[in-house]
């Protein structure tokens, strides 16, 4: 069964322009790369895949459920099985990097000590050990991107959508680990070569 299926789906980008029609499906244990033309904002597709932005046309199906005017509670249940990292979905500015990454796990009922240990280990793996108590706006751009990806990777999700991940070996290794665990991953990027271990690579043509 597809975890995420976008069928001829278009989404509104900046300035109200619609993206080109997207056709992609992601199954458990797959790492699918969707190469985007420069003009297509990955954030619009990332947001649309979990119903944060409604599709202008076409269909979005998440865990077999069509995303069309769903109730808040129903969407929340679906989103609790996903994790998205995108430059258009920043970290909370009133929390440190560590608190940002730990927060979704604490809200899922994790024990504080266990969550912080897991988060510290993950952030160290991403090279952010010296930025644990730094606020996001004080981080260099690369570190901020790594922290965003870290928040998505920390969550025990069945589907992971990563919009323009940083070119980092640790990120690639962690994505591979997730895929080996059966997580379905969709990577949105402008250079498919940056994700060499993809199960499938698709290209979105401007339309």
């Amino acid at each position: 069964m597809s975890l995420l299926a976008l069928q001829q789906a278009t989404f509104a980008g900046p300035g109200g322009c619609a993206t080109a029609a997207v056709d992609v499906d992601v199954r458990p244990g797959e790492l699918v790369v969707l190469e985007l033309p420069t003009a297509v904002p990955g954030a619009a597709i990332a947001r649309g895949s979990v119903g944060l932005t409604p599709a202008v046309s076409g269909q979005v199906t998440l865990f077999g459920v069509p995303i069309v005017d769903n109730a808040h509670e129903d969407l929340l249940k679906l989103r609790q099985r996903t994790a998205i990292s995108s430059p258009g979905l920043p970290l909370l500015s009133n929390m440190s990097v560590r608190e940002n990454v730990a927060f979704p796990l604490l809200m899922r009922g994790g024990r504080r000590q266990d969550v912080l240990a897991l988060v510290d280990a993950l952030l160290e793996q991403l090279g952010l050990a010296q930025h644990l108590d730094t606020r996001p706006e004080e981080l260099p751009a690369t570190a901020e991107a790594l922290a965003r990806v870290g928040r998505a990777l920390a969550v025990p999700a069945e589907l992971l959508v990563v919009d323009h991940p940083p070119r980092d070996d640790a990120v690639r290794a962690l994505l591979d680990d997730k895929r080996a665990q059966g997580v379905g991953i969709l990577v949105l990027t402008s250079a498919a070569a940056d994700v060499p271990n993809a199960t499938r690579a698709l290209q979105l043509r401007p339309g």
Binding site: L52, H72, R79, A83, S93, M107, R108, G109, R112, V155
Partner: protein
Amino acid sequence: MLQTTALLVASVRSVWRLPPRARFALRRVSFRQILFTGIEAIPLVSLVAVTFGILVIVQSANSLPEFGQAEFMSRLLVLLIGKEFGPVLVAFLVASRSGAAIAAELSTMKTRGEIDGLSAVGVDPLATLVFPRIAGVAVAVASLTVVFIGVAFLAGFAFAAVSRESLTFSGLVFNLFSAMTLGDIAIAMSKSLLFGVAIAGFCAERGLAAGRSSTDVPRMTLQAVVSAVFACVVIEIVVTALTVDFGALTR
């Protein structure tokens, strides 16, 4: 009004769905809200309380004996300061200070995409951003109302006792407690809690209604404060209508 009510109901349901450990973890957000809205507002509330208390008590002490109504002074003070103006003045102060801050913070987070960022990792913004603020503001407003009433009476009685030989501080305090009923306290505290919920609810609703433009932040903040103040006035009218014996006016 309907949208705010829906938001309040939805946020309570959202918190109810959270695991117990998660609800416990959110207490820090509520405590921070109580600190900002309650503790840090004590100097401002006390200043207003001192001024108001002195004015009301001194004017009452001067005017009521002229009309031969000196024995009703304590009851009038309980009604004016404790039951009516105290809770309302505190609500207006909190709405303009903390309500504006809540609306500005949430609308900034909405504009920047931070709230969607939380939703994107399966965190419910209603449970984690809205409900703790509502709970914190409600507790803070009720606590500040107690502070306001206490400071207003103390300041007013002290001033009256110093300026008029016929009045003693202990005498005024004794008469006050004799004139106060449990019903007065219950109504004042109930109103305060309702004010707190309304202020946080309206300000959170306006904050979350912001769009992607930075000009939405000041616009929503202004709308939030106006809505919150208006809601407090409506609550005051409704509670007064339900609790006052209008028949006594025509006797």
